[in-house]
Subunit: 337 residues, 2 copies
């Protein structure tokens, strides 16, 4: 091939690469539509130097709820399923659990009873199964569970059941100078075990619910022990409070999927300048789950999205993401719809 | 000038630039000696890829106490002086303070009484003067005070009274892939106001003592209110606990100056691999202050460095930084000693 032909071929290749990257765009698993447009438009505005909505990079903070926003939360939060597995694992050391609720119902596999557990029941289960050990020991227990446990419907590890469109959204925001945080009602120490590997979010950018921890000595070495006492719940109004505590800045973008995220979105979007608030609506029974009860979707105790929240979102300009309409694929590696 | 001469001149200039940068070295305000050698040797070890002590960048965490480690803490912590000024500012709205201690002693300018204040006295003063407002209002009050207040001896703003060698150390660590954090017994919200500007440390990397905060509405807008209740004290064993809470990683380097930093240094240096623990000793009455009571230096209630801590540091290989011998200058802009 002559040099001129080589150059021509190289130019063609370069053109094709640029054209296909543009065709794919920054959010390849998102269908074109208002949700994708809002995201891209928001990012264009806040990154435009000299523009009226420009946000300096240190203030580009985006916060994401986890359960139901970044990964599957049905039939039950992963950490709750982890807690139930821990009850089974530890039952041999606790013969009294055979007669004591909530443990008795868990060991009997009584799903209806488990579905009705109160917050206090869950606190008892978590205290009995996820405290008393060092932070390092707890990390190893979680890591071990994550490699073995499989989701009851999808038969895949929980860390596979993350939403590909949200992974793309987080990467897109980071590529545009945003610092991405998880702000979850789930256990901070639990999520920190896999956040870097699964979401590209380092442990120090995971803000969650916490229990009291204690510095002490075991075998002459300092350790941090998980105590059976709630320290702080990062849910509802606790989300903006934890954001203030851990980040000290008001996010300009916030993403959630349920009532527990309402105040986080309110706090993020009531600041000055361009703001982005989004709620994921689970309306895709076929590929994932469908629950509300907003829009007449089935009611649920796990990740409830009420009609009131739906109305408030519409009124305040928070975008509703329809999993069914807005997402080409749900999980990584899945074929495009 | 001929091209050859130009090239020669450029080469000479490049040589001179490199040589002078090497002469200045990474820590120009540090005298040569064991402290500087330890720092440079530690950084060389943890950044040497393939070496036995290599630490991956995400694990390069360095934590710094603030008062007495990064800036002047005598005659009293800056935030305490801020609190005393706030009592004077607010006295007109609180006629009852004229008769009530601890306020009465503050308003009477009774330094001896103030020096004897208990922790409970300080909590009352802080509750009365630094709570009830929104977080944004508090930031503005601190900012305003910082621009006006002057240190009683040095007659300069407190934010000028930072230690130049420590600024260089933080910059040097960051240039080598470290993430630098402040971990202070002082108020987190107070330090966050100036941490970026003064230390190059963003608010989200400031971990301190905190009060309870509450999400509520004022004039129809969401706000976060500072409540008159202690949430967590990041001092002594509270330092490793807060490090675990906010960072979720064990630091490989920690810097302090007093008993309140003991557990932080112990926690940081008891991990595997290369570790660096350092304590600043205030032994320079002429340029700053001298207090211990370690090494027979005058005793103090503010930033006490006991003989027991000194012995433990020696035994555990924590380096003692002598302000007098190790530092060429104390404050930015000061002439070299």
């Amino acid at each position: 091939m002559k040099p001129l032909h080589t150059k021509f071929a190289a130019a063609l290749l370069a053109f094709w690469l640029v054209a296909s990257a543009q065709a794919a765009g920054p959010l390849p698993s998102w269908n074109d539509g208002p949700a994708k447009e809002s995201i891209v438009g928001f990012v264009a505005k806040v990154t435009k130097e000299g523009g009226p909505d420009f946000v300096a990079p240190p203030e580009r903070i985006a916060t994401f709820d986890q359960d139901g926003t970044l990964w599957v939360e049905h039939p039950l939060y992963s950490q709750a399923l982890f807690a139930l597995d821990r009850v089974a694992d530890l039952a041999g050391q606790h013969p009294e659990w055979q007669e004591q609720d909530p443990f008795k119902s868990v060991l009997a596999g009584d799903r209806e009873a488990v579905a009705k557990f109160t917050e206090q029941d869950w606190v008892r289960i978590i205290a009995a199964t996820q405290t008393g050990m060092t932070t390092t020991e707890f990390q190893a227990i979680v890591q071990d569970w994550l490699t073995k446990a499989k989701h009851p419907r999808f038969k895949r590890p929980y860390t596979d059941l993350v939403y590909q469109p949200m992974l793309e959204l987080m990467a897109y925001l980071r590529a545009n100078g945003f610092k991405t945080y998880i702000v979850t009602g789930g256990g901070q120490d639990f999520v920190r075990v896999y956040s870097e590997q699964v979401y590209g979010i380092p442990p120090e950018q995971v803000v969650g619910s916490t229990i009291v921890a204690k510095y002490e000595y075991r075998n002459g070495k300092p350790v941090i022990i998980r105590e059976p006492k709630v320290f702080f719940i990062t849910d509802r109004a606790g989300k903006p409070v934890s954001i203030n505590l851990f980040i000290g800045k008001r996010p300009c973008a916030a993403f959630g999927n349920a009532g527990g995220d309402r105040e986080m979105l309110e706090w993020a979007t009531s600041g000055d300048g361009a703001r982005l608030g989004m709620l994921v609506l689970h309306d895709d029974e076929e590929r994932e789950y469908a629950y509300g009860p907003a829009l007449g979707l089935p009611d649920t105790k796990v990740g409830k999205f009420t009609p009131e929240l739906y109305d408030e979102a519409k009124q305040k300009g928070w975008l509703i993401i329809s999993m069914k309409k807005d997402w080409k694929r749900i999980f990584p590696g899945e074929n495009l719809k």
